[in-house]
């Protein structure tokens, strides 16, 4: 396609992307460099139904003047990025200087909010993504080989987890794993341990979230692989059979290599999605044991009456950075393949 035609087709989408994606990201980046003005506090007598007290309050008029002069707030540069709630450079330096062994360093770093969230986010991403691809592929193979009559209903039921809204899906599972729910009670009976609670133990919470993640995303991989399976060249498969390849060998040496680009595509999408894991943490009320980067952003913006925009902006940019780093190997591979083909 000539460049000119390409441009003519792409510009509306490009414009929308600049307006609704690129510019907001730039604005978020700008905000992350600022913090609130220093609050001017006054002491005043406050009376209410429960008596009077001298309380501190913000001098609203003086603050309005400050904001008028500098609407963005006080410039801190990368101060928000390096503070204790984010990359925590000072704290990490101190941890390395005062810890006695590696275990202590690890524990203390894991106690910093950003790293705690990062570790869970990475664990979720790297455990759920491959499992989704493997499980999706397995379902696709099975569905592909069942009789035509059953295919429709089976495909429909396999897709259900993806059709269900993530929050609703996680809530349904959440109630099932309650110690009074069907799964929770069954597990307690199975291990004859009445104190077993999938919600209380951090390890079990992590596992529950991983299982949910695989359950929710496997249908996506299945659909893509199933579509791919319909296009596997039959003559190659037949010649493999003539050569005496077993069923497993046909999958291993014909189907898998043929579907590899699809696996790359799914990996790409899943890495991005899983790195932004959020809904299950809310749905499972799992914040005590598992927080993700997206959860931190949500918490900064929603937990308190006055949102911490700078902090949320910094975490957002760090998340974007994380996604880029994660996708680099896959993107590089794609780029190389693209170059080879042209």
């Amino acid at each position: 396609m000539p460049h000119k035609t390409f441009l003519a087709f792409i510009w509306p989408s490009l414009l929308a992307m600049i307006l609704f994606i690129a510019l907001p990201i730039v604005s978020v980046g700008y905000q992350s460099l600022f913090i609130e003005h220093e609050q001017i506090l006054i002491e005043s007598e406050t009376c209410g139904p429960f008596g009077c007290d001298t309380e501190v309050s913000v001098d609203a008029a003086a603050m309005a003047e400050l904001r008028e002069a500098q609407p963005a707030g006080r410039f801190t540069g990368l101060g928000t990025y390096t503070n204790a709630s984010h990359l925590a450079f000072d704290e990490i330096g101190e941890i390395f200087a005062t810890s006695e062994n590696f275990g202590e360093i690890r524990n203390r770093i894991m106690n910093l909010p950003f790293y705690k969230a990062l570790i869970f986010t990475l664990a979720y991403t790297f455990i759920v993504t491959p499992l989704v691809i493997i499980l999706g592929f397995a379902i696709a193979l099975v569905v592909n080989s069942i009789p035509r009559l059953l295919k429709g209903p089976v495909i429909f039921f396999s897709l259900l987890p993806m059709l269900v809204t993530p929050l609703v899906g996680s809530l349904v599972l959440y109630w099932m794993i309650d110690s009074r729910g069907i799964i929770g009670a069954a597990l307690q009976a199975l291990f004859s341990d009445p104190t077993l609670s999938l919600k209380a133990s951090p390890t079990l919470t992590w596992i529950t979230l991983f299982v949910y993640g695989v359950w929710h995303s496997a249908p996506f991989a299945f659909v893509v692989f199933y579509a791919g399976l319909q296009t596997v060249p039959q003559d190659t498969l037949e010649s493999a059979m003539v050569d005496g390849a077993s069923r497993w060998e046909r999958v291993r040496f014909v189907i898998v290599p043929y579907l590899m680009p699809l696996a790359t595509f799914i990996a790409l999408m899943q890495l991005m999605d899983n790195f932004r894991v959020f809904e299950p943490i809310i749905g499972f009320s799992a914040a005590a044991s598992a927080t993700s980067l997206s959860y931190l952003i949500y918490n900064d913006l929603r937990a308190s009456e006055s949102p911490l925009f700078g902090s949320a902006a910094a975490t957002s940019l760090l998340t974007i950075l994380g996604v880029i780093i994660l996708l680099l190997p896959v993107l590089r591979r794609n780029w190389r393949e693209f170059n080879r083909k042209t």
Binding site: I35, E36, H37, E38, Q39, L41, I42, E43, S44, E45, T46, C47, G48, P49, F50, G51, D53, E55, V56, S57, V58, A60, A61, M63, A64, G73, R74, T80, N83, A84, S85, E91, N111, P113, D178, S179, P194, T195, L196, S197, K199, A200, P202, S285, A287, A288, S289, N299, R302, A303, S304, E305, S306, L308, G310, S311
Partner: protein, 411 residues
Amino acid sequence: MNLRVKATVAAGALIASAGGAWADCGIESGSVRILSNDFPALSAVNTRAAECASGTVEVTANQTTEHRNIQVPALSANPATYTVAVIATSSIVPLLSDDLVRPLDGYIEKWGDQLLDSQKIVIDGKTMAIAFMANAQHLYYREDVLAEHGIEVPQTYDELFAAAEKLQQAGWEYPLSSNFMPGWNLAAEFINLYLGTGNRFFEPGSANLAIDNEDGLAVLETMKKMTEYMSPDYITYDSNAQTPIWEAGEVALSIAWGSRAGNYIGADAPDRAIADSTAFAAAPTLGDSTTPTAALWWDGFTIAKNISDEDAEASFRAMMHGIAPEVLEGNMDKAVWLIDGFVPTRAADGVMANLKGKAKPYPMLPYIGLLHVALGDNLSEYLQGNESAEQALADVKAAYTTAATEAGFLN
């Protein structure tokens, strides 16, 4: 003239029928737009305020649990999206800090005769809000169960633990429950207990945190001790999760919100026997202190600043109609009303006992919200036994200090 005649007739009809859907509040014109939280007592107030609607007066109400997240942007707009923001002790603070609500003294003078002095939230000599109900957490207990095991109603945490211990030995697996879900709920429990110690949260006159002391540690230890008598799922309990467990008769002691008491014992309660034997007492005291470990909250309303004087006046008068003593009729058990003429019902026992025991109000400080968040995020690891109490308090302090620095309260 014609209008006035109609109004008089209507008012007469209203008196005759003792409460119709249409009332004349004497407002000539204006727009009343209410933003409020969503629970039965507030519905009662909003419904009454809506009676002021007429051909020239428009009254709308948005009742949503998301109210505190939209109030600041909504009132910052000019003209503001809402003319009335129904707020509580904590959610008024950002409105005051951003100067988004107007003083009400002028309106009170003209139309506020019905108000008690205790309803006025006066800051630096100016009335900024009108409170109409109070709320607090307190002890819920099962009268029949305690009587059966010869247990007195616990007044201190030591007695509460002794009672729980006794029940546990008698076969109650998890006799206690409380709102321990990390985040807002868990932090509220810490604040309740810490207020009960009488110690202060911040160094006087500054935003420097001062909870890393013996009382802070004692509070954490008490919370941990509570978890020993609670279901292992306690880390996911909020008010909504607690209610069915109580209604199923699995719990005999609970620390929960006063605003829920009416539901527990109301006509809709699923098990009559349990509902009838559910009783309420003040929040237990901690250690040597005699203060109930509960933060007192009020709910009230403010009038937006960025609206026309006409709308502000209409809004104030509509709300005055909304919280007029007549609202108590049929709604007595929905809240602990601060309105003149309120007669406490059984559902109000707990909050009234807290008031009588001189529980402390939730601190109305501009940076308390940041502490609330920091507490909510950093206490669960200690409760689950993964870190020490000292470490938990240090984590709270680190999180709070970072947030308060970003918000401009600390340097």
